[in-house]
Amino acid sequence: MALLEAHDLTKTFRRPEKDPGLRGSFKHLFQRKYSTKTAVGGVDLSIEAGEAVAYVGPNGAGKSTTIKLLTGIVEPTSGEVRIGGLVPHRNRVANSRQIGVLFGQRTQLWWDLPVRESLALLRDMYDLSPDRFRAQLKRFDEVLGLDELLPVVARKLSLGQRMRADLACALLHDPRIVFLDEPTIGLDIAVKDRVREFLRQLKAEGTTIMLTTHDLGDIEDTCERIVIIDGGRVIYDGSLAQVKDRYARERRVHLQLGSELTVTELADRFPQATVTAGAEGRREFTIAFDKAELTAGAVLAGVAQIAEVLEVKIDEPAIEDVVRKVYAGELLLAEGSTP
């Protein structure tokens, strides 16, 4: 059995419907109208121990709600979840020992206390021995630079520092599975890299990871599986490599030439590709093609025969481009095979 199993997971909310303005609010006092919104509708998910899964989707797609359902914070309207055989919202305490949760937009640090005290409180909650606690702090210090944060009162931490401390909080008890909801939100490049390095390390150590993010750079090095959700439904569940292979096949070769050529001359040479002229008219071109039909090497060799090549730049679409197209509705992903 998989470590995490969710079957037909659904959550609907009742939302008050008010007319605009004071009048609307007043009217709502006497005439209550509600509409039902489905945040998550029939999600099936199965995660094996040791897997790292990226859970992505546009704003309001139902990502955070799914995380709240999976961690037991929110009770599903219908459907079921099991983590390691436990139903999270029914066995909250037992379940909380096997999961770690980080909400990038919230902190679990006690606002008025030094980071050290928050960690000590968690140590007592999870019943860690003093030795184990020290070992964990040392480990976090190595990757997250935690030591310098320990004496600082939580409200005085910068966002990046706070996130580092929060990661330590979420992972202090060595959970079997960790849910990270936007762990790099609002962070600068340096801290982001640090967090990503930490995620890679976690994965290498065998921790099961479920990661939601808007920054797809977070997932490229860590996750081998991607689940895309939109409108509360899973629209893709499969390997990241497969998504890229299937939907990110386009390559663009940007060329700067030593001599002049026309678009037609190049287009004739590469009938499978699309050729466009660049800003510098007849000395700059972009050749776009499907990597299954043509290779960058063949393009370069072909161009070299008719003109001197000065500069070359090759663009490979990031997973980001694929997902952007999905969000925009330009690309309909076929059902991927679950790895």
Binding site: K68, V74, V101, S118, M125
Partner: protein, 260 residues
């Protein structure tokens, strides 16, 4: 037990971090005490009594009102309410702890600061306010004071849960404080109220907060009645604790989902 102890210690530490706020609260409390003593002095200047209270007795009553007003109040209910409103409570739900016990531990951590406030301002009051009777039965008084904090916590925790539905604590807090001030007897002794209000107070837990310890202090009730009133306090602690527990189970289903 250990995490709750640590929580109480952390909470104590945070009250000391806000010592300036408590200093200001102390000044405000002195001001209010002086004003109410002046009011009662004017009303009772001819040496008579109102509702069975002479001026010295009324001063002692006000002192008890001040003392009981602090118990369980240093960690304001705002701390609890904000935890719900900010969605922090969601994080408590993924910890191997019970939220209610955790918040109680947090409230308990405020006790040292409360005692400091009680002793400093209270001692000043005794010195300045003039003659007043001492407690008539110290063990019984102490016993009844022990119950004040848990009862206040349960009431606060229960009303705080309304935030799950209202998303706003102002209204809830104002309403509860206004009702509480009257029905606990902290504004004026309950014996000065119309009968219907006294009856209402008798069936609600608020009187256990101020009226009971104050009446025991002054010896206004016989010893058997004092035991009965303390029994009522104990009943409220148990009843409210379980009521709050059941309510929280229902309320936490209301955790709304912010941000998709």
């Amino acid at each position: 037990m250990k995490p709750y102890r640590t929580m109480a210690r952390n909470s104590m530490q945070s009250t000391f971090a806000f010592r300036t706020a408590f200093l200001m609260a102390a000044v405000a409390a002195c001001f209010q005490l002086v004003a109410t003593v002046a009011l009662w002095s004017a009303l009772l200047s001819n040496g008579g009594s109102i509702g069975g209270f002479t001026l010295p007795e009324m001063k002692a009553y006000l002192l008890m009102g001040y003392v009981t007003g602090w118990l369980g109040n240093a960690i304001g209910e705002w701390v609890l309410a904000n935890r719900i409103r900010d969605g922090q409570v969601a994080l408590d739900l993924v910890k191997p702890i019970e939220t209610q016990k955790m918040m109680f531990a947090q409230t308990l951590g405020g006790l040292p600061m409360e005692l400091i406030m009680i002793v400093t301002v209270g001692a000043g009051f005794v010195l300045v306010a003039g003659p007043m009777p001492g407690p008539s039965n110290i063990p019984l008084l102490m016993l009844s004071l022990v119950f004040v904090m848990p009862i206040r916590f349960c009431i606060a925790f229960l009303t705080t849960q309304l935030v799950f539905w209202t998303q706003n604590f102002h209204g809830v807090s104002w309403a509860r404080n206004a009702v509480g001030a009257v029905l606990s007897g902290s504004l004026v002794p309950l014996s000065l109220m119309p009968t219907w209000l006294q009856t209402t107070a008798a069936v609600l837990p608020f009187a256990s907060l101020t009226s009971t310890p104050a009446l025991i202090y002054l010896g206004k009730v016989s010893t058997p009645t004092a035991y009965l009133l303390i029994g009522v306090q104990a009943f409220w602690v148990v009843a409210l604790w379980f009521l709050a527990r059941v309510a929280f189970r229902a309320a936490s289903r209301q955790v709304t989902v912010h941000g998709g």
